[in-house]
Symmetry: C3
Subunit: 105 residues, 3 copies
C-alpha cells in the first residue's frame, strides 16, 4: 500500500470562532475539516480567560505548502485578538489527492 506524507494542522480555539475558522480553512484550500469539542486552560500562556470556556480542536489535512500558508494566515487573522494554539504534524495518508482542493490558490 502506497502512503504519502501530508500535514495535519490542528487549531485549538474558543468555540465561538468555529464558523469563522472553518470558513478560513475552506478559503485557504482545505477539502474538509474535523471539529472535536474540547475544554482547556491557560491557552499555553495566551489570554487565559478566553480559553477557559468551551473550546474546539479543529483539524484539517493538507499538503505541506498549504499547511504553512494556513498557519501564517490564521496567525495574522486571529492572534491579535484571540487565544488560539496552532500546530502541525506529519501524517501518512493513502490518497493524497483527496486533500487537495481543485481550486487551491
Amino acid at each position: 500500500m502506497q502512503f504519502s506524507e501530508m500535514r495535519l494542522l490542528t487549531v485549538i480555539a474558543p468555540d465561538s470562532l468555529e464558523e469563522h475558522l472553518t470558513r478560513e480553512f475552506k478559503a485557504l484550500g482545505a477539502t474538509g475539516y474535523t471539529i472535536l469539542p474540547a475544554r482547556g486552560e491557560g491557552g499555553h500562556g495566551l489570554r487565559t480567560s478566553e480559553l477557559e470556556g468551551g473550546n474546539i480542536q479543529a483539524e484539517v489535512i493538507v499538503d505541506a505548502d498549504t499547511a504553512e500558508r494556513m498557519v501564517e494566515h490564521l496567525f495574522a487573522k486571529f492572534l491579535p485578538r484571540h487565544a488560539i494554539v496552532v500546530y502541525l504534524m506529519r501524517i501518512d495518508v493513502v490518497r493524497p489527492h483527496k486533500f487537495v482542493a481543485p481550486t487551491t490558490p
Copy 2:
C-alpha cells in the same frame, strides 16, 4: 526512560459505523481503542452528506505492520460505501508490548 516507536491509526467516520469499526480493530490485532465525538464537513472530498452528521474520530495504537494491514483492510471494507478518512502517525510509547495482541495474526 526507554521509548519505542509505534503508529497511531486514526479513522474519521460517521458515528453509525462505530460498532463495526471497533469490531474490525479488535479482529485485526488492536488491544484497545479510543473514540472521540466529532463533527465535520466535506469528508475531504468524499461523499459530503455522510460526514456532515455526527462523526467519530477513532484511534488505535499498533505496530507499523499491523497499522498498514488495518489501513488496507479498512479501505477495502468501508470505502466502497462510506465516507471515511484514515491516517497514520508516528508516536513514542513506553511499553510497546501493551499494544500488541497476543493473538495478532
Copy 3:
C-alpha cells in the same frame, strides 16, 4: 515562517482523574492543556473495566525534556493504580516560548 519542534504529550485516562492530571501537568511545567471527552475499551491491555467508563484524552505541548520528565512522573504516579495510556509525538509550532513555563523546574 519559522517552526520549532516540540512534543505533544497525550494521556488517555478515566475522567475521574482529570483534576489530578491537570494539576500534575501544571506542576511539571505545562503552560496549558486541552481535554477532549472520550470513550474507549480495553485500555490497550490494561485494567479493562476502568477504561470502559467515561475517559478523557488530555493533551499538553511541551519541550522534549519536559515531555520525558512528565511521562516518567505520570507513570510513577498513576500506573500502579490506574489504567492510563501515554504517548508522545513530534509537532511543529511557531512560538515555542509560549509552551515553556517561566518556573519550569
